[in-house]
Symmetry: C7
Subunit: 246 residues, 7 copies
């Protein structure tokens, strides 16, 4: 109760520091990320995999409408976890950045540049009053100068580059699995399988049909969504598909 | 009491995160939606049905003036549940978007585009200070590229696409009924009947005369309101009309 | 006391949602309406009646200066209940809307259009910070395309169309009486008598001399105030005039 | 104490509604009016009388400098009660309105128009945040179209027209006296005497020398201040002048 | 303690009314005035005297730097009591008003006009949010149309004209002395002596050397400061100069 | 505890008055000044001395980088005590004022003018919302019209002129010493020695090497910093240099 | 508990003073710095060393993406500790300052100038409302006029110049080690070794591979990053590399 009272003092107004130097509103935004279903990103030798678990409230919902993987530009995808409406704002921001870059320099935006412009935008919502932080984490993946790149943007506005990473609900379990199983030499095919296996670690029951997967390979440099059939095939191959994996 | 005190801390100011990552003001806005009478949307093979229960305070009120289904454009309707005055603001916003699209591209706005512009507008009221979220949910239905589409916009600003969906008071019961009875192959006629039956599940006593129904079929691509007589006929056919359906 | 504490949390700042989805400031504004003396509107076959009870603090006050019925335009009147100074603001807004319509289209503004512009204006004071809602309800009546129309605008900014309606103190009793006695076939004469009888239901002692009545008939399409004498005659006819009617 | 706590909740921020629909800041502003010494206005057949009791803190103060009656325009005076510095702001506002009217239409501003422009200005300070209401009430009197008019503007921004009225400390007693003694047929002379007698009812000891009186008669249509001698003569005639009148 | 809690509720935000109609921030600003050492103003037949007690923290401070009497214009002086930095802002405001008047009309500003422009400026800091009231009172004295005038401006923004007046610490005792000893017929010489005697009433030990005196006489119409020697001479004459006068 | 609670009420928002007329945020800013190490200013017959104790956290810090004495202009120096970052803002402000003066009038700014422009700037941070007061006091010294001048600017924005003065930690002890030992006839040499001795009074252990001293003499009219060697020589002469002086 | 309550009063709003003159939000920002891993700066005879410990959450993270050392300009580097997203904002600010300087004067910006522009920017976030302070400390090192310079910028906006300094977690232990071991005569090689040894003092287990080191030498005047191999070589030489150094 004492703890509750102390915390309450820091979340009434704008994003301010607590006595131990934490930004509570940012940490609560991280909780909003954990409330969302998980997304996974994997960088392989020949491309980047983005995979997201779309948990649906009802069989009547159109699963495709639950947006978890977005196109930022032809060569760059964004997977999100957390507050969906917030994710849409950030994806729109990232798209505008990509367009501006193409207009100005007639070149695709670098994945690192795209990430850092987005995280700088996120940071401002954690320092300036009059708005709350974004309740969402992003995985930004694509090809830059022929190389696969994979970044995470968290609610504090910090950019991280990863070989393989998970965001959202069950992150710890999924990340543990990735750390055990990931090898930098794996190809895109292996990356997709690993992504599916990892997502299965983070939830009681993974429905392969509700997983959304997209890749950007170094050859095409194009974000490509896997069809539902393709995803189910990979899941079958990985011996997944709805049974309890825990 | 402890719970009350904890909650109070998060709803005094603008929309901010609670320690478990929820946006209370948005969740309270969802309660405002539940306080409204229900609306139902059903996508059939040959069109979309929007149906709304207009509960009236007095026999002297003009039922038509209780606005639950609105025209966004010739080919697109919006059913609402929750705070009526807020719904009017969003419908006005959607109409302006539709007009701008026609002026710029000389084409009807896509139902998905219309929905996402509206949900992005809703999201901003959940992040930026100086205003409260909208206390209303919308069902946006119509024809896009010859296909029926049906979307929900909730107070967080998240868009969902549905085959069949309910918003407002009694949503759970109505949605359960829809999940049991809905088939994608049903035609518009069957959709109207299902909508009436579903609405009857969500309330103790459904008065068919107080139900407002509109459809957009793939042939005419025009939002058309059913007359009171037509609604009563459908209700009679479905063996409804005021008796307790629970 | 617990209840008091809980409520206090929601009325300190701007208009925000309570955990059960209500907008307390708007509900308190409705209480401000109830604190005012009643107004009644009745739509008849050949016109609309607006009637208002002007309760005076002192015999030395000029009753005519207690503004309860206002002219919005030649063909449209507004009766109010609640905070008088707020009503003046809204009437001014409605007048400007009417003038703009005449200037732009050289036509009288529709009663429904006039009502909805006004309720949209009211709604904004319930959503955007920096101001409180309007503490007043309005009855807007007049002739549109040759037909009598009667609307209510409440503090939430919701428009309702009515056959017969009461706002302000004693609303419940007056509305009950209207529901029992109103028939859509009654003429303007019968409407005036019913309005007086209904107002008498809502108060211990109705002083006919303090009642302000105006009508808009379909023939003249002009808002016309009844003289004090005419009101007294109607009251005498209806066997009213100061005796306790309860 | 319970009452105190409940009230405190409503006066911390801007002017908002209490659960029973009252605007506390406006009601507290009315208390500020009661803290001021009284002013009286009387409309007679041939003119309007404004009278104000100037209570002085010290014999060394220049009584004329305690401004209670102000000239709004040649034909219109304003008596105030309450917060003196606030009154000056409103009188300045009224003067500017009068000047603008003369510049635009080359005519003196109507007393009713002048009052309503002023009360609309007052109302805005009760609805929009960032400022407190005016802690003052005004009596605005003068000649309009050859007829004497007398209005009250209260801190809520409501205009009232009166035959005879009191504002400020002791209002109830003074108003009771006016209701007993006032007749619409009295002439300006009788009005001045009645004003002095009425003021004497509201205070333990009225010092005639500290009473400020001004009139606007229908003949001259000019605001004219009575000299100290004239006031003393009237007081002597009325058998007043310092003795305890209670 | 109950009293403390009640008061606290009214001084957290901007200047708002208490339930009994008082503006606490303005009353607290008056306390700031009382915390300052006293100033006295006396209007005589042939001029105005301003006198101020400069209490010094240390013998090393330059007494002249403790500004208590300021020149607003050649013919007008201002003595202050209270928050010194606030006084400087108001004196700057008054100087600009004087300059503007000379530029526009090529005439010295009237003392009454100068006072009222200043008090209107002060008033705005008591009504509009975003700033606190001024913690200072002013005595504004000078010659207007050949006549000596003396005004007080208090923290509420109310102007008063005086024959003789004190502001600041010990005001009550000094004012009592002035009321006993002041006569309107006294000349400037007598006024200076009376000012010194009065200041001595308000403090345990008046150090004549720390008193600052300035006069504006009707002949020169120029603000003139008395030299330290002149002040000491007057003090010696009045039998003052450091001994305990109580 | 009661006292704590009472104080808390006044420091939550902007700078407002307490019931006894004090500005708590300004008084707390004075505490920030006391938390800084001391600075001393001494006006002698032939110049002004500014001396500051730079207490260092670590032997590895560059003592010169601990800015305590700044050049405002060629002929004017500023010594500070308190919040270093705030001091830099005010010194920048003073420098811009000096430059503007030279550009406009081609003359060095007067020391008094420079001080008052700076204190007026400081005052505004104590009255207008949206910022806290400056947590720093300044000593502004230099030559004006051939004469040495020395001013203090405190966090309230009040200017004081001094013969000799201390600000910052241990101010009371240092000021007492100055009052005992200062004579107006002392020359710059004596002033430097006195400054060192006085600083030694305010601290347990004065390290001569950490003292920063600058002078402006009437002949050169240039701010000149003493070298570390010169300071040590003066300290040795004054029998100071690290031993406990208390 | 009493202490907790007292503190809570000061961190709800903007950055304001506590009764003892401290700026809590700034002090809490210092705690945010301590929560970050350490950075070290060392000024040697022939250049400046910046070294930072990049603690990684996962072996799959790209260590280079954890930005601790940034290029401000060719000749100037910035090491940070604390809130990473905040550091990025300040580095961007510093880069823009450097570019503006080159554009205006065609010269590299001075290290002291660069630091002070940055600290002035930081200070404004501690005084003006509407934003929180930066939760980061910076070490700014480079060559200015051929000389190595090393500055610290802390969250209060105070600039310090150092010979050798640590920021971030374990600062005290690292600084103690630097004070013991640092000599101004050491060359860049020795500086790199000392930086590694010092960082090892501040943590239980220093992983040489996670240390980022950059230097600016007086010859090249270019910021140069050491390769991972070079760092490991230095660490081996210094007998470091993962074993517990405590």
């Amino acid at each position: 109760m004492q703890g509750n009272q102390q915390q309450q003092a820091y979340d009434r107004g704008i994003t301010i520091f607590s006595p131990d130097g934490r930004l509570y509103q940012v940490e609560y935004a991280r909780e909003a990320v954990k409330r969302g279903s998980a997304s996974v990103g994997i960088r392989t030798a020949d491309g980047v995999v983005l995979a997201a678990d779309r948990q649906t409230r009802s069989p009547l919902i159109e699963e495709e409408s639950i947006e978890k993987i977005h196109e930022a530009d032809e060569h760059a995808g964004i997977a999100s976890a957390g507050h969906v409406a917030d994710a849409r704002q950030l994806v729109d921001f990232a798209r505008r950045q990509s367009q501006v870059e193409r207009l100005r320099y007639d070149e695709p935006i670098g994945i690192e540049t795209l990430t850092k412009r987005t995280t700088d935008h996120i940071q401002q919502y954690t320092q300036t009053g009059g708005a709350r932080p974004f309740g969402v984490a992003l995985l930004i993946g694509g090809i830059e100068d022929g190389e696969p790149r994979l970044f995470e943007a968290d609610p504090s506005g910090t950019p991280y580059e990863w070989q393989a990473v998970a965001i959202g609900g069950g992150r710890e379990d999924i990340q543990d699995y990735l750390e055990e199983e990931y090898t930098p030499e794996m190809d895109l095919d292996g990356g997709v399988t690993l992504a599916l296996e990892a997502l299965a670690e983070g939830t009681d029951e993974l429905d392969a049909e509700s997983v959304d997967i997209a890749t950007v390979d170094t050859e095409s440099e194009q974000l490509q969504s896997l069809s539902g059939e393709e995803v189910t095939d990979y899941a079958a191959e990985a011996d997944l598909g709805g049974e309890d994996d825990e």
